[in-house]
Amino acid sequence: MMLPNLPLFPERASTIGAGVDHLYFFLLAVAAFFATLIFTLIFVFAIKYRRRPAWNKAQPIHGSLPLEMLWTAIPLALSMVMFFWGAGLYFEHARAPRGAAEIYVVGKQWMWKLQHPEGRREINELHVPAGRPFKIILASEDVIHSFYVPAFRLKQDAVPGRYTSLWFEANKAGKYHLFCAQYCGTNHALMAGWVYVMEPVEYERWLSGGTGSETMAMAGEKLFENLGCANCHHPDGSGRGPSQVGLFGSKVVLAGAPPVIADEAYIRESILNPAAKVVAGYQPIMPTFQGQISEEGLLQIIAYIKSLGRDGKSGTGQ
C-alpha cells in the first residue's frame, strides 16, 4: 500500500489496531456500496430520463411505502452492526488488563513528559517493548492535550484537574509518531515525538542504560518525606492521618458520605483538597497541598502509595 512519497494506509503496531482496521474496512465497504449505488442510480436516471422530445412526460409517482420501509430498515440494521462492533472494541480499549505496567505521562505546553515506573524519564519519546501491555496514566499541567499514537490507533485527552488513561500492547518493533491531537496553543504542532517499540531484550538494555535509577515510587517516597506527609500518615495507622499501606484499590469508609474506591483520582483529590473526602474516624485537619506539588510529583506519590500494596494487602514497599 505504499507509493513513493504517497502513503495511503498507516502502519499498525498494536494488538488493538487490527480490530480497528477491520471495522474501518467494513465501514469502507458499506460506504463504497451505498455511494456507488446512489451515484449509479442518479447517473442512469439522469441519462435515461433526460428531457427530450421523445420523453417529455414525467410519470406521476408519489411515493411507495414498501420502498420507504426498505430504505429505513436497511440503514438501521447496518448502523446497529456498526454501533455494536465499534462499542465493543471501545469498551475493550477502556479496560486495561490486570498487571499492565503503568507509565505516567504529563502533558504541558508544549511537551510530553513521561516516566517509567522503573524511574527512567523521557521527554517526547516513549520506549516500550513489544508483547507487554502498558497502561498510560495521563495528566495535564495546563490545558487539554491529547496523547495520540496513530500506529496504535489510540488517542486519549489529558485533562487538567483529573486523570485519564489508555492502554496498549505493541506488537511490532519500529519507530512511530507520537502526536498531540488536541489543540493546545501556539506550538501544538511541535508537541510531537516518537514511540520506539523495541524487542524485549533491547528494552531491558535501554531501561538499564538510564542515568537516574531512582524509581517513581522512590521519588514519591522522598516527596512523601519532604512534604511532611509521613509525620501524620504512619504505616501502622497510629498517626493523625490514616495509613497508606494497602490503600490503593481498597474501599475507603468516609465520614458522612458513601464509601469510595481509592483510585488515582481519589488520592489526587485527597492531596489537593483534603477536606473533600475525610476518612471516617479522622479529623479534617490536613492542609491542602495545592500549589506545592507538581502534576509529576502527584504521580510519583501515587506510584509510591501503590507500591505500599493494593486492595488492603500490604506491598513490598521500596
Binding site: F39, A46, K57, W71, P150, K155, G161
Partner: protein, 535 residues
C-alpha cells in the same frame, strides 16, 4: 416581457430606504451582501492556510499566525456565513412568499436581527484586525479562559450578539409559518423548503441560547480570572465541551437542513415530478432536528467523557443517519421516470447529493466509537465536516441562489458560465478534500502548522484543489453581478415551477402579492407535461 413598473427594488432609493426597511426581501438582500463579504474573507483565510501547508515546515507564516488563520477561518465561516446563509438570505426572501403572506410576522424584529448580525460581525472583525483569536473555533477551556493571549472577548461577544440574530430569525419563521399561511395552505401542502426551515428554526430557538450563555461564561471567566470552568476550583473542562456541543452539533444541522430544503425544491422542478415520499422527506427534517440534539457527545469520545455516555451518544448518532439516508433515497427516486433538465440549479443539486452522500457516509466512521478514537481530531474529521458543510451546505446555498436569482433580481444569468461554475466547484472541492480523508486515517492531526514530511504529497494535492475551488467560487460572483445589468429579463416563472413565489412578478412587488393567493393543491403539482416556458 417588461419589468413590472413597481417592485421591491425600485420602491425606494437611497441608503435610508434600505437601512430602515422592514421589507423581508430587502432585508434578505442586506444579508446577502453582508454574508458574501464575510464568505470571501473566510475563503481568503482558507487560501492562506492551504498555501501554508504546501511545505512541511509551513511556507508562509509561523505557528502563531497560522493558529489565528484557522481559528478565524472557522469562526467566520461557521458563525458569520454558514449559519445565516440559507435561512437569513433565502429564508427571509422566501418564507412569506412561499406561504402567500405580505411579510414575516415581526418585520421590525427581522431588521433588528440584521443589525445584530452586523454588530456581531463588526466585533468579530475588530477581533480579527487587532490580532485575531487563536483558540480554534471551539474555544475549549481552559485554553480559551486562561491561557490564550488573543482577542477572545470581542469574538465571544460578537458570537453572542450574532446568536440573538439567529434566535430572532428562527422565532420569526416559526411564528410566521404557524399563523400566516394563505387560505388552503395546509401543513402537508407546504413546500419542503419550509419544513426544513421550520426544523432549522427549532434548533435556533433551543440551541443558540446555550452557546450564548456558555460563551458569556467564558468571557466572564477571562475578565474576572475565576469562573465555573476553572480546573483550579474543581471546574470540569469537559463540562464546557458538553455545553458547547449541545449547540454546535445541532448547528451542523442548521447548515445542512436548509440546503436539503433547497434541493427538495430544485429536484422536483427540474425533474417535473412531485417529490417522491413527500411526508417522509418532511418528517425526516424534523427528525434530524430533534435527534440532532441528542448526539453531541460524539465529539467527546476521547475527551475523558464516561465510556458509558460515549456508547449512548454513539448509538444515538447512528440513528441520525437514518433520516439522512431517507432523504437521499427519496431524492434519487424522484428522478425515476422524470423529465430531467440540466439547468444550473439542478447541477448544483446533483453536486449536493454526491458530496452530501460522501459526507454522510463518512459520518458513520466518526460515529463508530473505536474508529473515531483513531480519527478524532485528524484530517479525517476535517474532510468529513467540509463534505457536509461546504460540499453540502454551500452547494445547496449556491443552488438556491441560482434557482431563485431570477425571482430576486428579475434577471437571468448566463447559463453556460453558471453550469461551468457548478462543475468547477464540484471538481475543485473533491480534489481539495478527498485527500484529507487519506491524511486523516494516516494520522495527520488537525490544526498543525507544520507536519511530518510523508504527508506532503496529499497536502499539495489538497492545496491544488483549493485553488480550483477558489476560482469556482469567484465565477458566480462575477456573472451574477454582471446579470444585474445585462441579464435577460426573467419573467415571473422562468423554470415553469410550482410554488406561490413563482405566481408573482419578478422582482416581486413590496407587498409580495397583489391578491392573497389561495392554495388548492399539494406542493410540486407538476403535471408531467413539459410547459415550454424556458427562456
Amino acid at each position: 416581457m417588461s419589468e413590472p413598473t413597481e417592485n421591491y427594488l425600485n420602491a425606494g432609493y437611497g441608503l435610508k430606504s434600505w437601512l430602515l426597511t422592514t421589507d423581508h426581501k430587502r432585508i434578505a438582500l442586506l444579508y446577502l451582501i453582508s454574508i458574501t463579504l464575510l464568505f470571501f474573507v473566510g475563503g481568503a483565510l482558507a487560501g492562506l492556510i492551504r498555501v501554508n501547508l504546501l511545505t512541511p515546515q509551513g511556507l508562509l507564516v509561523g505557528a502563531e499566525t497560522y493558529n489565528r488563520l484557522f481559528t478565524m477561518h472557522g469562526l467566520i465561516m461557521i458563525f458569520f456565513f454558514l449559519i445565516p446563509s440559507i435561512p437569513a438570505v433565502l429564508g427571509n426572501f422566501l418564507v412569506p412568499m412561499m406561504i402567500g403572506a405580505r411579510d414575516l410576522a415581526f418585520p421590525r424584529l427581522n431588521l433588528l436581527s440584521w443589525y445584530l448580525f452586523v454588530g456581531g460581525s463588526l466585533l468579530a472583525i475588530v477581533s480579527a484586525v487587532t490580532g485575531g483569536v487563536d483558540t480554534g473555533w471551539t474555544f475549549y477551556t481552559p485554553y480559551s479562559t486562561t491561557y490564550s493571549n488573543s482577542h477572545v472577548l470581542p469574538m465571544a461577544a460578537g458570537i453572542f450578539i450574532t446568536g440573538f440574530s439567529s434566535i430572532l430569525t428562527g422565532l420569526n419563521f416559526i411564528v410566521t409559518i404557524h399563523t400566516m399561511r394563505a387560505p388552503g395552505l395546509t401543513w402537508f401542502r407546504l413546500p419542503l423548503f419550509l419544513w426544513s426551515l421550520y426544523a432549522t428554526s427549532i434548533i435556533f430557538i433551543l440551541g443558540t441560547p446555550v452557546i450564548a450563555i456558555t460563551l458569556a461564561l467564558v468571557g466572564l471567566e477571562r475578565i474576572f480570572g475565576v469562573g465555573i470552568f476553572n480546573p483550579g476550583l474543581g471546574g470540569d473542562p469537559v463540562l464546557f465541551q458538553h455545553l458547547f456541543w449541545f449547540y454546535s452539533h445541532p448547528a451542523v444541522y442548521v447548515m445542512i437542513l436548509p440546503a436539503m430544503g433547497v434541493v427538495s425544491e430544485i429536484i422536483p422542478c427540474f425533474a417535473r415530478k412531485r417529490i417522491f415520499g413527500y411526508s417522509f422527506v418532511a418528517f425526516s427534517s424534523v427528525a434530524i432536528a430533534v435527534l440532532g440534539f441528542l448526539v453531541w457527545g460524539h465529539h467527546l469520545f476521547v475527551s475523558g467523557q464516561s465510556i458509558y455516555a460515549g456508547m449512548v451518544f454513539s448509538f444515538l448518532s447512528f440513528l441520525v443517519a437514518i433520516p439522512s439516508a431517507i432523504k437521499v433515497f427519496n431524492w434519487t427516486a424522484t428522478l425515476y421516470k422524470g423529465s430531467i433538465a440540466f439547468d444550473t440549479p439542478m447541477l448544483y443539486a446533483f453536486g449536493f447529493i454526491g458530496l452530501f452522500t460522501i459526507g454522510g457516509l463518512t459520518g458513520l466512521f466518526v460515529a463508530s466509537l473505536a474508529v473515531d478514537v483513531h480519527v478524532h481530531d485528524t484530517y479525517f474529521v476535517v474532510a468529513h465536516f467540509h463534505y457536509i458543510m461546504v460540499g453540502g451546505a454551500v452547494m445547496g446555498y449556491l443552488g438556491g441562489i441560482h434557482y431563485w436569482w431570477p425571482k430576486i433580481s428579475g434577471r437571468l444569468y448566463p447559463e453556460a458560465w453558471a453550469r461551468l461554475s457548478a462543475v468547477v466547484i464540484f471538481l475543485g472541492f473533491n480534489l481539495t478534500f478527498f485527500p484529507q480523508f487519506l491524511l486523516g486515517y494516516l494520522g495527520m492531526p488537525r490544526r498543525y502548522h507544520a507536519y511530518p514530511p510523508e504527508f506532503q504529497v496529499l497536502h499539495v494535492m489538497s492545496t491544488a484543489g483549493s485553488t480550483i475551488l477558489g476560482f469556482g467560487y469567484l465565477m458566480p460572483l462575477v456573472y451574477l453581478l454582471w446579470s444585474l445589468k445585462y441579464g435577460a429579463l426573467a419573467g415571473s416563472n422562468p423554470w415553469g415551477a410550482t410554488g406561490l413565489e413563482w405566481r408573482t412578478p419578478s422582482p416581486p412587488p413590496t407587498e409580495d402579492f397583489e391578491h392573497t393567493p389561495v392554495v388548492a393543491e399539494e406542493a410540486y403539482a407538476y403535471s408531467g407535461e413539459e410547459a415550454e416556458q424556458h427562456v
